[in-house]
Symmetry: none
Subunit: 83 residues, 2 copies
DNA sequence: GAGAATTTGTACGTATGTATG
DNA sequence: ACATACATACGTACAAATTCT
């Protein structure tokens, strides 16, 4: 069984870590794993899951927000936008 | 009083500055002054200590990394490899 | 309503990576 | 080899908003 799709972070490659994470999360949104209107995993959770610094996670989230895929609300969380 | 051992940088000689620095650092590693598993002085620190440009320091560090003596981690520092 | 816990926002400092002149 | 600038990344601390107990 081959893990295809580059679902994991490549810490040695050229692509920035935050871009890789953004790509992963984008995939989980478009695939429906993260459903519209529902809350995404918190930054702290993602930090633990992927072993990245919070700033790096936030940069990935920021890019998703800029794309209009998610909205971030202080004190509440980050939510997948309805499409 | 003569400084023997080439512990200082010779800015006029034929040997590249980065090679001289690499040699110095290599010595401090093998002698145990820079202990295995611990962090090396930062590039900025070495820049100040030896009066070299950062690019030159990086070239020296790169050579040490190629030799397997140290590993460099973005955002954390350069560490002496355990042997 | 009070206080604790959670979550995102902001700021700073430090360090390595890359690019240009 | 030097100088500069910016990007990427880690770590820490605290603030602000919301939710939970």
């Amino acid at each position: 069984m081959i893990k295809s799709g580059g679902v994991t972070i490549d810490y040695l490659g050229k692509t920035p870590l935050w871009q890789q994470l953004a790509e992963i999360l984008r995939g989980k949104i478009t695939s429906g794993e993260y459903q519209a209107g529902r809350r995404m995993p918190s930054e702290t959770t993602l930090v633990q899951e992927y072993g990245l610094a919070r700033g790096t996670v936030r940069q990935a989230m920021k890019s998703l927000e800029d794309e209009g895929l998610v909205v971030r609300v202080q004190g509440r969380g980050t939510f997948v936008v309805e499409r």
